[in-house]
């Protein structure tokens, strides 16, 4: 057998029982001191000269350069912007070895150095700071699991509050790399966040499966109460109201128990309030939401109180619009223009609607115009188009036909530009209705446009209504029939 064949045979027999063949092969390619350095390079996700010096502080600049020049030649090392990385398969195997008992102390020390290195610094560009803060949390977990997990939870909650769901997912993926040493308490908390992410993505099946599994293993009362509440929310959103109520009542029971004091009871009452609202139980919904408002007020929680007042306002809008207005005004007083831009725009719009229900047209117009100003300043074309559609109805009621016409024309134009043909169709139809008596040709033009747009989205009901109302004598095209067939079969 040739020398080369003998070498390969030796490798095959030597690695036959290994579960980390790829990493073993890389280590075999290097002298012992370089092998130790490549092991260290498996701790971060990316390495370069600065990082290598942090990982192995004994190295001088020349040794770092020589090491990297050697690593660059390895098939398992890939070049990335800003440095190098070990191939995923190799890194995962080496990283798993770091978490074993005989290496964990050395790993913690290296992770501590890396955490200090990655700490975001003043003067970092925000994109750089975002990358560094993720790396900081990752290495803090390696240095001190409990403190690192606290850091992760803080960053996760902040990202979720700001609706940065992708960042939540990326953070959870980082913590998952430590699965082997997390222990039951942290594993359960991580599983809860994974379920929360599934729920944020409206993946109800996955959210429910994860939460049900977690319910059996949750190690403390607070987490169990959170899981029950999340299950209640998923059940409500999927129309399973009886199950939702049962979960919420169990969560409430735990929140009221001595061990559940750390879990805010008002969260359950809020969910129950929404559940009652969705089931059409007006009085029960009102009672629950008023309880939430009282609890949030007692706790001095500004945003939860504002949310409860806005929800109460929405609930009261049809039956008691004057009380709804009072709720929205109280809510508005709690909001901060510098931080709550979206909420202010929403409440302003709600006030416009409530005043319109009270037929206080001038006040309604004023609120809608303020909402419109916010939308325009924010370059929110869709929001601007919707507000104009609402405002046009108020102008019409006030007898301001020219203003109504201009608002509807602009609304249709904006809906077109944001590619929302269904709303563009509605704006065109409103325009056709508005001008029918004064300018029939123009009205028919807009009615035809509305019909074509409804046809484009395959809305047969609206096509029929528009056809009949304006006597367009149109026949649905084969194309629209096909579109509605596929929409039905989907």
């Amino acid at each position: 057998m040739s020398d080369i064949a003998a070498r390969f045979r030796e490798l095959v027999s030597g690695l036959s029982a290994s579960e980390s063949k790829e990493a073993d092969l890389v280590l075999l390619q290097l002298a012992p001191e370089l092998a130790q350095r490549i092991r260290l390079c498996a701790i971060p996700h990316l390495f370069n000269d600065a990082i290598l010096r942090v990982l192995d502080p004994a190295l001088d600049a020349a040794a770092v350069a020589a090491t990297l020049a050697e690593f660059e030649k390895l098939p398992a090392v890939i070049t990335l912007p800003g440095g190098f990385a070990l191939h995923d398969v190799v890194r995962q195997q080496l990283f798993a070895q770091w978490l074993e008992a005989d290496r964990i102390n050395e790993f913690r020390a290296a992770s501590r150095r890396m955490a200090e290195y990655c700490l975001p610094k003043e003067g970092d560009a925000a994109t750089q700071a975002a990358t560094r803060s993720k790396a900081f949390i990752f290495h803090l977990l390696g240095a001190d699991l409990v403190r690192g997990f606290e850091g992760f939870e803080l960053a996760y909650r902040k990202a979720r509050e700001e609706a940065r769901f992708g960042d939540c997912e990326a953070l959870v993926a980082l913590v998952r790399e430590y699965q082997a040493i997390l222990g039951p308490q942290l594993t359960a908390r991580l599983a809860y966040y994974e379920a929360e992410i599934a729920s944020d993505h409206r993946d109800w099946t996955q959210a429910r499966t994860r939460l049900e599994g977690l319910l059996k293993t949750a190690p403390d009362v607070e987490l169990k109460a959170r899981v029950l509440l999340a299950l209640g929310s998923v059940a409500r959103r999927t129309g399973q109201f009886a199950a939702a109520r049962s979960y919420c009542e169990q969560a409430l029971g735990l929140a009221q128990s001595p061990e559940g004091k750390t879990f805010p009871e008002r969260l359950v009452h809020y969910e129950l309030g929404i559940l009652e609202r969705d089931q059409g139980n007006f009085d029960a919904a009102r009672a629950q939401l008023e309880m939430v408002a009282a609890m949030a007020k007692a706790d001095g929680e500004r945003l939860p109180l504002a949310t409860a007042l806005n929800s109460l306002g929405m609930l009261l809008m049809k039956a008691m619009p004057d009380q709804a207005v009072a709720m929205f005004e109280s809510c508005m007083a709690l909001l901060e223009p510098t931080t709550d831009g979206i909420r202010i725009a929403q409440v302003m719009n709600n006030l416009g609607m409530a005043k319109a229900d009270l037929q206080e047209w001038q006040a309604s117009e004023s609120y809608y115009r303020q909402s419109l100003e916010i939308k325009r300043n924010a370059k929110d074309l869709y929001g601007e188009a919707l507000t104009l559609l609402n405002l046009a109805r108020v102008y019409h009621a006030e007898g301001k036909r020219a203003e109504a016409r201009a608002a509807l024309a602009r609304s249709a134009e904006l809906f077109n530009s944001v590619r929302d043909p269904a709303h563009a169709a509605r704006a065109n139809r409103e325009l056709a209705r508005l001008v029918l008596r004064t300018d029939k040709a123009d009205a028919m033009d807009h009615a035809n446009k509305a019909y074509e747009l409804f046809e484009l989205v395959g809305d047969e009901d609206e096509m029929r209504v528009t056809n009949r109302e304006f006597r367009l004598r149109k026949q649905p095209s084969i194309w629209s029939k096909a579109a509605s067939f596929f929409a039905g079969s989907a």
Partner: protein, 315 residues
Amino acid sequence: MGAEPQTAAAPPRLNPALELRLSRFIDRETEMRDFCRMLDEPRWPRPVWFVSGGGGMGKSSLLLRMMHECSSRTLPTAEIIWTETRNHDYLGVMRKIRDDIGAPKFQEFTKLVNFFTDPQTPQRVEIVVEAKGAINVAQNATVAGNGQVGTIAGVVVRDLMLTVPRSDLGIPENERMARLTDQFIAELAAAAEVSRIVVFFDAVEKATDPTHRWIWGELFGALRDGRLLNVNFVVGGRSVPPIDEAFLPLVEQRALAPLSREHIIEYLIRREIDPGEGARQQVADFVLALSGGNPLKVANAVETVIRMRAQEPLQ
């Protein structure tokens, strides 16, 4: 034009490590040939290439080879690689494409990014165009910070590289995303009128769910709706995600197969570790047994033997 990979008269300069890697590239002839056909055809019907394969199957190497091919044709390219800590969201993807293609082509996009992220950006930038006399553009515009991304005709465009959206603006995240994407697509489409653009996405399995949905719904949605022409995307990922039927006609799917015995022998020869005709099949069998034809494992095994032989001759 032929469909074979081009050998340019004056190939672009490569760093030695990259040159070495490209010189060791084997197999994937079919993929490269078809990729070149796509580059040659002005109206290639499937502008998205999805290259899938498990860890070590050679996706990144193939993408590297494709990028080199684009570079030898002087086609503008952009490359986005996802890692665990550098997890590009939709804005990160657009910024990277902008910076790779040329920031001056995306001035309006950059201004809009700053508007949505920087609380210091004035809410109204007045553009003054006087009909008579001098024409003053962006007279009252202010630009702050040090994130300069390009200068064109004396106008400095800066991206402040902020990531967290402004909380004082009354615009929901979905709308912010739609506005930014529309502006970006419009400027990318304009840039692609001048020359074909190829965008590479690698390790896309690490992208988060919202980013995946943006890539398919918004970015590839623009291809489907005909708003983006002359732009190709090559996506490397562990597995192919479920593709919506509406996108199937746009996507060329390639699952990378393990290397065959013949390719392993070709690799041994390229690495100058040819055991000679008599032993080639036997060595290829050993390598196959160890690697299952996984290119990373093949390369690793061969590298190991080369280094072991250099260190200590077999007794």
